[in-house]
């Protein structure tokens, strides 16, 4: 994600338990089938709470905890949103690993009462125009902006795709919650 390249490893990763020799020992034991957990070397993969230490938001439209619910089992085939890392990627220069189709996982049957769009949300879903979702909707809802009520006012698709690749933010610069510069 943007700005993370300037952070050191410990800013996001907790140290793995044990000293170096214990960690190597545990990994070799795991390879040999002598233990059945997944020991790590150096640092642990970031947990959701590690991300939330800087990116906690009071009014997230898609809070991560919800995707751990059994009802989202089939959605996991499209995107494993149980962890921040299921969508957000790091160390690659991209912001989000998305093929633009993630919304399909949960919103296939979307219907909006008093739908303001020229082509209804239900129609967009039935035509599988999943690219259009992010052209209007901010996934986490952290940008201070009104959601357009007309398809004519949607963002340019290339601008959205560029944003997912770590480009400029087309949703605007005003945010409800600003990321902390360091863990508290």
């Amino acid at each position: 994600m943007p700005g993370h390249a300037s952070l050191d490893c410990a800013s996001c990763h907790e140290p793995a338990p044990g000293d170096t020799r214990q960690q190597i020992q545990a990994i070799v034991a795991s390879w040999l089938g002598w233990r059945h957990d997944n020991p790590q070397f150096g640092f642990l993969p970031p947990q959701n709470s590690d991300c939330a230490d800087c990116h906690e938001r009071a009014n997230d439209r898609h809070p991560i905890n919800r995707f751990r619910e059994p009802r989202f089992l089939s959605a996991l085939d499209i995107v494993d949103a149980r962890t921040c890392g299921g969508c957000h990627i790091e160390h690659t220069g991209d912001r989000v690993a998305s093929n633009g189709q993630y919304c399909e996982a949960c919103h296939k049957n979307v219907e909006v009462k008093h739908d303001p769009l020229e082509l209804s949300h239900a129609n967009l879903a039935s035509q599988q125009r999943w690219d259009t979702c992010l052209q209007c909707h901010d996934f986490h809802g952290n940008h201070k902006r009104e959601t357009p009520r007309s398809l004519a006012l949607r963002l340019d698709l290339s601008a959205v795709k560029n944003y997912l690749k770590d480009g400029a933010d087309p949703f605007g610069t005003e945010k409800s919650s600003k990321a902390k510069q360091a863990r508290q």
């Binding site: 020799r21 991560i64 089992l73 409800s176």
Partner: protein, 281 residues
Amino acid sequence: MNTIPTISAIAAVACVYLFATAPAPLPEAPERSGSRNAVIPVSKLFDTVNLVNAKTRQIWTSRIVGKGIEAGLKFEEHWLDDGEEAGPLPALFVRLTAENLEKQKSSLALFLGSDKPINKANLFQGEQVAQFAAINEDNKPRYFSMERMGVEVGMYPDFASAPACVSCHNQHEKSAKQDWKLNDVMGATTWTFPSKKVSDSEIHKNIGHLYTAIQKSYQTYLDRVRKFSANVKIGKEWPEKANLALPDADTFMDAILEATAPAVDKKVYLDAASIENRDRR
């Protein structure tokens, strides 16, 4: 140079380095079967946390939302939107608690759902549909495994326990059912945990996480109330007609503890949460 003796020598040195002279091996992380001391069925953990959550919800619904409305407070679906001077409706207070549970790195997770929800995102799917149908038959909880998600699941019926539950859901324009009656099963509270068995200390730790999540959720509400244009007294008093007051976090949590004490040792909360709460103050 003879390769085989060289490789053998390196392997021997590596073995000595890793296993003969190395410090004690790292303890193995618990698998889905639970830690070595895990002998208690996870359903016991689910039963206890569900009781704590149900009592909290009852207090929130009747003493904060019900009496708060009489006092002049507002409770809204979009209570977190900019400019809103409102608090969370009962289901949204549970959702906030679920989010705060996640933020504590708890393995325990909490969800609300229904077969006739106001918000379609809360519609049961897959295994939960059949389990909820069974709950609707006898009003008893269901425990089952979701192997692919790697979790054990407990589902508990949510009853329409207060007139406000019925009237609000019946009047909501997006409600999928508008003829709810008192004591109907409106949905279910779902709990998940990654192992079938838990240890005594895991039970204590996770109940502590839930108490802390409830406290943090209430604190979030109070933090917003302090910015309301109306002057809401925050202290020892509870809201009632002609008394625009709210209990402070300690008073609120004392009421939760009082209501749950028959089933949950207060020590769990005091051990797990009080230090953090004190630091916060």
